[in-house]
Symmetry: C2
C-alpha cells in the first residue's frame, strides 16, 4: 500500500479541486477561441467543461511525486487531455462508434457536423504538441524537456498506442478474444496514454531509473484497472450516471472484460490491479506518492 | 533571380532523384508495417510510393542552403510529408471532399474503409512527431533541435495553419470570396506547411536572423504560388495527368484563384510570386540556394 494512505480525504479532495481548476484555466488559455470558420468553437466544445480529467490529474500527481516543475507539468497535463479529447471526437463519429452522447452532451459531430468535428480533432492533436513546445518568450521550459514530452506523447498516441488500440477494437467487433488479446487491445487503447500521463509528469522532475521503472509499472496497472472498471460500469450503470451511452459495448457486440471473464472475476481483477499499483508506488522509493495512490483508488472505486 | 540559376539542369535532376530515393527509403523505415489490425498497411498505402514529395525536397534544399545536418533534415522531411499525407487521407473522406482518386490510386477510405482511414491519418500525425523525437540510441539529433522542429511542425499543421485553412475551405463552398480572403485560406491550407518545410530545413543548420527572415518570405511566396498553380491546373488539366479528380473545385463550387481572378491574371500572379521567391533568396545572403531556386521554378512550371 502507498505510504500516505492515511492522508486526510479532505486534503486530497482539496488538492484535486485546486488542480482541476488550474487545469481548466490552462486549457481555456491554450484552446483558441479565434480559430477560423468555427473550428475554435468545436475544439473548445470538445475539450472544455467536461470530463474527469484523470490524465491531467495523473500528470500533476506524478510531477508532485518527483517534486518537478509545475508549469511544465501543467503543459503536459493539457497536452495529454487534448489527445484524449480528440480521440473521443473521432471515436464518436459515425464511421467509428457512431455515438450521439458524450459527457452528457451531444457529441461533436452531432453539434458541428462530421467534417468540422474531424478537423477539430486533427487540430487538437496538433495543439497538444504546440502546448508542449512553447516559445522561449512564453515559458522557461527547457527544450530537452519539451522534446522528451513530445516523444512520450507521440508514442502513446500513435500506432503503437492509442490509435493502434482503436484499430484492434474496430477489428474485434463480433470476435471472440482471449484475455491476452483483450489485454493487449486495452493496454494500447487506453492504458498506454494513462501510463504516459504518469511518465510525462515524472519527466518534469528528477527521478532515478529505478523510481521511473516502478512509476511505469504503476501506470500500467492503473491503466488496465481503468479499462476493467470501464467495462464493469458499461453493464452495471445507466447512461445518466455515465454521461455517455451505457451498454454500448454489449450492443456493439464488442469483447469486454465482463464478457470474457464474467462480472465478479472482472471485479476481482480490478482489485488485484489496484494492489499492484500500490505495490509499485511503495517500491519506487519516492515519498510523495499520496496523490498517485489515491488516484488509483479513485479509478477502481469510481461510479462513472 | 537566384545566384545559381545557371546550374546545369541535369545536376539538379540528379540531386532531386538522389534526395527522393533517400526520402523514400527513410519513409519506408519510419512507417511501420507491423501496426495492428491493418493500420500499418493503411498508413503505408497513404504515404509510400506516391506524391511529388515537394515538402521533403524543400526541407532538404533549405538544409542544403544552410549546410545543416542531413540526418535531422531527413527526419524533418519525412515528418512534414507524413503530415501532408495524413491531411490528404482525411480531406478525401466522404464527410470532407468525398474523393475516390488520389495519386492515380483509390483513396485510402475507398481501399480500407472510413474508420481505418481516419485512424491511419490520426496515427500518421502522431508518427510525424515520433520521427522528430528519436531516442538517443537511434540518433544524435540534439533535443533542442527536436523541440524546435516539433514546434514548427505543430504550428503549421494545426488551427492556425493547415487544419484552420481546411475549415475555411469547408465553410467557403458556394461563397463569393475576395482575393484577400482567398489568399488567407490558401496561405493556411497549403502555404503554411510549405513555408514550414523551408524553415524546418533551415533549422537543421545555422543561419542568421536576416537569412531566416528571407527564407520565410521565400517559403510564403512559393507556398502561395503552389496554390495558384494548383487552381490553374484544376481547370486546364485532366484527371489522368493530375492523378486526382480534375475540375473538382469548380464542380464543388469552391472559390479558386481562377474563379476569383480569371485564368490569365492567375497565371501572371504565379509568375510574380516566382519572382518574389527568387528575390527573397537573393536577399538572404546565402550562397547555396540553387536547389531552392529551381524548386520554385518547378512549382510554377509543373503540369501536374
Amino acid at each position: 500500500m502507498g505510504r500516505f494512505l492515511s492522508v486526510d480525504a479532505g486534503i486530497f479532495e482539496q488538492w484535486m479541486q485546486r488542480s482541476l481548476a488550474a487545469c481548466e484555466l490552462a486549457l481555456d488559455r491554450f484552446v483558441p477561441s479565434d480559430a477560423p470558420a468555427g473550428l475554435g468553437e468545436a475544439m473548445r466544445y470538445a475539450v472544455l467543461d467536461g470530463g474527469k480529467r484523470l490524465r491531467p490529474l495523473l500528470v500533476m500527481a506524478a510531477n508532485d511525486a518527483v517534486r518537478g516543475d509545475a508549469e511544465a507539468a501543467m503543459r503536459a497535463a493539457c497536452a495529454v487531455e487534448l489527445i484524449h479529447a480528440y480521440s473521443l471526437v473521432h471515436d464518436d463519429m459515425p464511421c467509428m462508434d457512431d455515438d450521439v452522447l458524450r459527457r452528457g452532451k451531444p457529441t461533436a459531430h452531432v453539434k458541428f457536423g462530421e467534417a468540422r468535428a474531424m478537423l477539430a480533432g486533427d487540430a487538437m492533436q496538433a495543439l497538444a504538441f504546440e502546448v508542449l513546445t512553447p516559445d522561449a518568450a512564453d515559458s522557461a521550459m527547457p527544450p530537452a524537456l519539451q522534446a522528451r514530452l513530445c516523444s512520450l506523447l507521440a508514442r502513446s498516441a500513435g500506432h503503437a498506442g492509442m490509435a493502434g488500440g482503436q484499430a484492434i477494437d474496430l477489428a474485434s467487433v463480433g470476435q471472440q478474444l482471449d484475455e491476452c488479446t483483450l489485454r493487449d487491445m486495452h493496454r494500447r487503447k487506453t492504458g498506454v496514454l494513462l501510463q504516459a500521463s504518469v511518465m510525462m509528469g515524472a519527466a518534469c522532475g528528477q527521478a532515478s531509473v529505478q523510481a521511473l521503472t516502478h512509476l511505469s509499472e504503476f501506470g500500467a496497472a492503473l491503466g488496465l484497472a481503468f479499462q476493467v472498471v470501464d467495462d464493469i460500469l458499461d453493464v452495471t450503470q445507466d447512461s445518466a450516471v455515465l454521461g455517455k451511452t451505457a451498454g454500448k459495448d454489449q450492443d456493439a457486440n464488442k469483447p469486454t472484460y465482463v464478457s470474457v471473464l464474467g462480472l465478479e472475476p472482472a471485479r476481482a481483477l480490478a482489485q488485484e490491479l489496484r494492489d499492484q499499483a500500490h505495490k509499485a508506488l511503495a517500491a519506487s522509493g519516492l515519498t510523495h506518492t499520496a496523490w498517485l495512490s489515491l488516484l488509483a483508488d479513485m479509478v477502481v472505486e469510481r461510479q462513472n
